[in-house]
């Protein structure tokens, strides 16, 4: 028997500016009692800042520098790549946003309901007039993810910015 999945869990479209957006109380089970395995996050957002600001996500309000991240990218028509640890929330340059420049980002968090796996993430950041980045990350925490917070270096997200979460049963 097959199980329809890829369920929309949360959709936020800002009607006023907000310095952060938190998707909380992420479910572990779908409507039929199947366990969600993977969490897909999408964002399409800008900020009130006139300067580029990094988009970041934080899992379970965890502010420790427990993330290892790698990516390769086209930045302004040049190949770039980096791997770095100790990261708290921020992602790559292609995720950066300002008041006239939105980014479109997706994050795939594998086995987000597991309590014995560190969280492995695939991400993609697209900033149409400047950059495209493909990346992976590992968050050294085995707790199930029950909330995700988007932020941009403390600058408010613009009205109309969107943040969505989907759950995939497995």
């Amino acid at each position: 028997m097959t199980t329809p999945t890829y369920d929309l869990l949360s959709s936020t479209v800002l009607t006023s500016t907000a310095t952060s957006v938190t998707i909380s109380s992420l479910p572990t089970l779908d409507a039929n009692g199947n366990t969600y395995k993977d969490l897909i996050l999408t964002s399409q957002c800008g900020t009130t800042s006139s300067q580029l600001q990094y988009l970041g996500i934080r899992l379970n309000s965890d502010s420790s520098g427990n993330r290892l991240q790698t990516f390769f990218a086209n930045y302004n028509n040049s190949l770039a790549a980096n791997t770095f640890g100790g990261v708290t929330t921020n992602w790559d340059n292609a995720s950066q946003v300002r008041n006239d420049l939105h980014s479109f980002c997706t994050f795939q968090i594998f086995d987000y309901t597991s309590t014995n796996k560190q969280k492995t993430i695939l991400f993609r950041s697209s900033k149409a007039d400047y950059a495209e980045a493909l990346g992976g990350a590992r968050v050294d925490a085995t707790q199930a993810v029950n909330s995700v917070t988007f932020s941009a270096d403390g600058f408010p997200f613009l009205v109309g910015s969107t943040f969505r979460a989907y759950g995939i049963a497995g």
């Binding site: 890829y6 929309l8 395995k37 993977d38 695939l122 992976g136 969505r164």
Partner: protein, 176 residues
């Protein structure tokens, strides 16, 4: 609300229905997992894997074909920079995984897409992405080809050595 998305990067589109066909959670250190009698009711398949193996690798074969009919072209980020390469005329598709010598809880993450797997007029093509951030660091994008026009009815996923407990392999169908 249900949304189906072919793209492994889940780029926010929708329309097709995305359905879980079968999932396997490893216990007892198995060396392979087989999805048999794969439903022919879909256009595309996606396989999502969270993997850790004894030897650090995972392989995939279709319809019990073990001959050198598999091709991959890759672009990848590793500790030495960004590189490209090809695996031509291989007996399987292959990817790296976390190994038992890595820190507990390290698992690699994979999405593998197979396009038009029921079509008997096309060689079977697909693509994949995976990341491994453990003893080794990899971020790899791959195109792949199975030099066969048969509809895929069986998918075998093999470990290098054996699968570690909690390795998870899920098969999804996407209607078109």
């Amino acid at each position: 609300m249900l949304l189906g998305i072919l793209n492994a990067q889940a780029e926010g589109g929708g329309g097709a229905t995305y359905e879980l066909l079968e999932t396997y959670n490893a216990t007892g250190s198995p060396s392979s997992v087989t999805f048999s009698n794969v439903s022919q009711d879909y256009k595309n398949l996606q396989i999502r894997i969270s993997a850790r193996t004894a030897g650090g690798g995972v392989y995939m074969q279709f319809n019990d074909d073990t001959s050198n009919n598999y091709v991959q072209h890759v672009i990848y980020r590793s500790s030495s920079g960004v590189s490209s390469g090809a695996n031509l005329n291989q007996p399987s598709l292959s990817w790296n995984t976390a190994t038992n010598s890595d820190t507990a809880g390290n698992f690699s993450a994979h999405t593998i897409d197979l396009a038009d797997y029921t079509n008997t007029n096309k060689l079977t093509t697909g693509r994949s992405v995976y990341t491994l951030l453990a003893g080794q660091v990899f971020l790899t994008y791959t195109s792949h080809l199975w030099r066969n026009t048969d509809a895929i009815t069986t998918i075998r996923v093999l470990a290098e050595g054996s699968f570690t407990n909690d390795t998870r392999i899920s098969l999804y169908g996407i209607r078109g």
